[in-house]
């Protein structure tokens, strides 16, 4: 087997194998576990960089495993998948560091890190899926791998949250499965192809294809937290902070959003979806979700829940981008896949830090945290500003392209949605920032765990948010430089519309 045919599989395995090994480790073997984790993460990073280079050069990588006649498991790399893979790999590395610091001295870490690695493997598998079948396979594995993470703490709350999470995702998985099989029964094996495969589908099955689109959307919408399928997301907040970070920025919601992008562009084809009114329907759903999520975020006092609803809202930008016909909006949606990830993971890291160091869980308790934890708060501020869409943080770039694309497509109502949403974002983030920096520090924090070193909190917890915040800033500042998410997204859009 030559290397090109093995690389996609190797990228998946580079986290799956360490993950499987970690289960067998004794609880006390910190060092070995850390070594395994970090080796996996670094190897994956190296492999992904290799792949980016290759894809940019027009190389194609494909691992194909025939399960049964006509049923192939295909991992392949195109521009879109590489973007998502790169995001997952990078953020996995950072999150692993964070998690090692966060979970110090808590029980069942072998189990935790095992599933953590599986979760990333599944995400990368989703990113690299070359067929709808493969996508479904990894989509379900992701459900399986995240359930233990959500339930990890073992409290009754965690059990409840995990149960709700499972009920939603299993239901969604079932829908996706039915949709995928239905599609395959109709048109044969569904391989993701730039420009879609249904362009010349016979007229008489078009109606069915539209129904299937909504079945698939129902399945993907659960993970992407489209209203009204978002109910699990706030409940899943019971998970440990690194898990929330991963779930919101990289793994679960992103998998759903990525799936929607895939289905629209590479299965149905944007042309087909546009001419059959699918894009419009998707746009409506995404817009409702954006507004609803922001409104809900406004009412939350719990910091993590506010962030969770913010995710509901922000992830739908990706769907929104996909729903506007035209390459510029596509760029906006696709690039937001990365930008939202960077910003949201920063915010969750910070929320974890506040909770860990000061016992601060609620927005109302955040008075003056900026003075007490300046590093964390700086990162938080950057993330929040980015979410609102203030230049030069990455979020601005996404919104700019989305708006431009909407204007170009003549969808003025989308512009209204964007403006409204940005105002709402500001309404729920700015008060936090105000509290953080401009309110006096209280005499007593809810539950303070002073850190012995000279930093405000352990380095493993402080550096990850700073790094991701810096990346979010850089992605906005240097948006036009080569190899930025924006440039890559343009490449994707070019290829999708090019053919």
């Amino acid at each position: 087997m030559n290397f090109d045919a093995f690389l996609p599989a190797a990228i998946v395995l580079s986290s799956m194998i360490p993950g499987a090994l970690i289960f067998f480790l004794k609880e006390e073997s910190h060092r070995l576990r850390t070594v395994l984790n970090m080796t996996g993460a670094l190897v994956k990073l190296v492999l992904v960089i290799w792949m980016i280079w290759g894809v940019y050069d027009g190389h194609s990588y494909e691992t194909r495993l025939t399960l049964a006649p006509g049923i192939d498991l295909v991992l392949s790399a195109d521009a879109l998948s590489v973007l998502f893979v790169a995001l997952s790999t990078l953020l996995w590395l950072v999150t692993t560091i964070y998690a090692i610091g966060y979970l110090e001295d808590s029980p069942n870490r072998s189990r935790f890190f095992g599933f953590f690695s599986l979760c990333v493997s599944a995400t990368v598998g989703i990113a690299l899926s070359g067929t709808l079948l493969t996508f479904v396979v990894f989509y379900e594995i992701l459900t399986l791998a995240t359930y233990p993470l959500v339930a990890h703490r073992g409290t009754p709350d965690a059990a409840r949250g995990a149960k709700i999470y499972l009920a939603y995702t299993m239901g969604g998985g079932a829908l996706l499965l039915v949709g995928a099989i239905w599609l395959q029964a109709l048109v044969g094996p569904v391989e993701f192809t730039q420009g879609g495969i249904l362009g010349n589908a016979p007229e008489e099955i078009r109606g069915t294809l539209v129904i299937i689109f909504f079945v698939l959307l129902g399945g993907l919408g659960v993970k992407a937290a489209l209203v009204p399928l978002h109910g699990w997301l706030p409940q899943a907040m019971v998970a440990p902070a690194p898990v929330s970070a991963l779930l919101h920025a990289v793994a679960v919601v992103k998998a759903g959003a990525f799936g929607i992008v895939r289905v629209v562009y590479d299965v149905y084809g944007v042309q087909f979806a546009h001419s059959n009114g699918l894009l419009f329907a998707l746009g409506i759903i995404a817009s409702i979700t954006i507004i609803y999520g922001s409104l809900m975020a406004l009412t939350q006092d719990s910091l993590k829940k506010r962030l969770a609803y913010s995710t509901v809202s922000q992830v739908s930008y990706i769907a929104l981008g996909a729903s506007i016909f035209g390459p510029i909006a596509t760029i906006g949606g696709v690039v937001h896949l990365v930008h939202q990830g960077l910003m949201k993971i920063t915010l969750f890291f910070c929320a974890g830090n506040y909770a860990e160091a000061l016992g601060v869980h609620k927005v109302s308790e955040m008075d003056g945290v900026g003075k007490r934890m300046p590093g964390t708060s700086l990162a938080f501020t950057l993330g929040a500003l980015g979410m609102i869409g203030i230049p030069p943080v990455a979020g601005f770039v996404s919104k700019w392209y989305l708006g431009l694309g909407a204007a170009e497509a003549g969808a003025n109502w989308v512009l209204a949605v964007l403006v409204a949403s940005s105002l709402l974002n500001a309404a729920y983030f700015l008060p936090i920032l105000y509290k953080t920096w401009f309110r006096p520090t209280p005499t007593q924090w809810p539950a303070e765990h002073p850190h012995p070193g000279r930093l405000e909190i352990g380095g493993a917890l402080l550096w990850p948010p700073l790094i991701t915040a810096a990346l979010a800033l850089a992605a906005g500042l240097f948006a036009a430089a080569p190899f930025t998410p924006l440039e890559w997204a343009s490449l994707i859009a070019e290829r999708e519309y090019g053919r």
Partner: protein, 480 residues
């Protein structure tokens, strides 16, 4: 010197049973040795079939119709491999599971059961099948009662009697076929059998007998108590292999013998019963209070899927699609074998540690036995039908075929069963996450935990991803 692997696959466990009966003090060592030997024989035999096609051996040199022989083709070998691997794992597990006295009883009966299974998968003669069925039924019931509780004895007595009723009914069908066609060899009969009252009645009799043994809804009533109360390794074998053997026979007889007789309405009735099994079994599993009872009801449900395949098979015209469907059914049966055996073995460990198997109170035990909990989880993945298990692949093919044929009803049943299965599996797994403080060591007792884990792992990962050889195998005399 001539090695007849077909004969040895039956003779080795038989000789092993003889040896362990005669020297009960060495039962474990000798029993394990026979287990390994038998498994090796079966694997070598299967490899041969996989490479060179089906083999047949006629004992006594008389040949059909006068004599009896054994035959291994793709279908029988697929079941043979699954059964022998599962049985080997169960043997290793049982080596540590049973007390010294129980061991003396377990090993000879277990090896007899094994020879019955091997004999059944390889048989070509209708009456010979009756004898293997009886050998299977008697040894299975005796093994099931080994746990010694009153509930186990009563349940397995009922199992024994129902099994007898089934075999007698089956035998009546055989007698009818013999009286019309004057032979017992399946292959020869297939050449002369023609649709008509005689063949139809014989089929109805034989199939009803086998349905009883396969616990097809609504004839499943005997299964849950018998399987739930047996000792864990025996439950594993009963649920994974013994009922599966009856299903295998239905499939075999249908494919090889009754194909011209079986029409769509018969197949639909089978599918309907299967659907009933899926819904009812899953529902009862969801409501079960005990872990092993849950597993037993899950077996009822999983057997249902296998029968749902019949209407799909009948509706699908011969060709690639039908071959795929057939392979999917076999894959489903194999995956369930591995998964359910792994599940029961792990459940046995949990039960032993906790002293009971009431699901709602299992938290501590689950935490203390990560390997067993994992095995349950992995087996659960296969039972639900999540990827990358073999069940997923099989269900995918079944659903696709059902959609292509426009048989939406079966899609609904399969999906409903899948969701119910997810509910009952995660009901168990939910208890694994709790705040019981226990030092984490993944494997505590390798000899019992590793077999369970391996079986579950095979069901969840290996069979789905490396299913291709099964198609190659089934090409030997079954497909096409």
């Amino acid at each position: 010197m001539m090695i007849d692997l077909l004969a040895l696959a039956v003779a080795f466990p038989l000789l092993g049973a003889v040896v362990v009966t005669a020297t009960p003090s060495h039962a474990r060592g000798l029993g394990l040795a026979s287990a390994v030997l038998t498994t090796l024989t079966s694997l070598v035999l299967s490899l041969g079939v996989w490479r060179d096609g089906s083999v047949r051996s006629d004992f006594g040199g008389w040949g059909a119709p006068l004599g009896i022989g054994l035959q291994a083709d793709g279908l029988s070998v697929a079941m043979l491999v699954m059964s022998n691997l599962v049985a080997l794992a169960v043997s290793v597990y049982a080596g540590s599971y049973f007390s010294a006295t129980a061991r003396r009883h377990f090993w000879p009966l277990w090896l007899l059961l094994w020879s019955a299974l091997n004999g059944l998968f390889l048989a070509t003669d209708l009456f010979n099948l009756y004898v293997t069925l009886e050998l299977l039924g008697l040894s299975a019931a005796a093994l099931g009662a080994l746990s010694g509780t009153r509930a186990a004895v009563a349940a397995n007595l009922r199992y024994l009697l129902v099994g007898l009723l089934g075999s007698m009914t089956y035998l009546m069908g055989v007698a009818l076929l013999y009286s019309r066609y004057g032979m017992l060899d399946i292959g020869l009969l297939a050449e002369v059998i023609e649709p008509g009252l005689v063949a139809w009645t014989a089929m109805a009799l034989m199939f009803s007998g086998l349905f009883l043994k396969a616990a097809l809804f609504p004839m499943h009533f005997w299964l849950p108590p018998a399987h739930a109360n047996a000792p864990a390794p025996v439950s594993a074998a009963l649920s994974a292999l013994v009922v599966k053997a009856a299903f295998y026979l239905v499939l075999r007889l249908w494919l090889d013998l009754f194909d011209p007789v079986l029409n769509a309405s018969v197949a639909n009735v089978l599918g309907l019963l299967g659907a009933g099994a899926v819904i009812w079994g899953s529902w009862r599993a969801l409501r079960a209070e005990r872990l092993k009872l849950l597993a037993a009801y899950s077996t009822v449900a999983q057997m249902g899927y296998l029968f749902i395949a019949f209407p799909l098979l009948v509706a699908t015209p011969p060709g690639l699609a039908r071959d795929n469907l057939l392979a999917a059914v076999v894959l489903l049966a194999m995956t369930h074998g591995f998964a359910k055996a792994g599940f029961f073995l792990a459940a046995g460990l949990v039960q032993k540690t906790a002293g009971h198997d009431r699901i709602n109170e299992l938290g501590g035990a689950a935490q203390a036995l990560p390997a067993a909990t994992f095995a349950i989880g992995l087996a659960g993945v296969a039972l639900i039908g999540l990827p990358p298990s073999g069940t997923f692949l099989a269900k995918w093919i079944m659903i696709e075929q059902a959609m292509i044929q426009g048989l939406w009803w079966w899609v609904v049943v399969i999906m409903l069963g899948t969701l119910l299965a997810a509910a009952y599996i995660f009901r168990v797994l939910g208890h694994a996450f709790n705040r019981e403080p226990t030092p984490y060591r993944f494997v505590n007792d390798a000899r019992t935990e590793i077999p369970a884990l391996l079986l579950a792992f095979i069901s969840a990962f290996v069979l789905g991803l490396i299913a291709q050889p099964l198609w190659t195998l089934l090409d030997q005399g079954v497909l096409g």
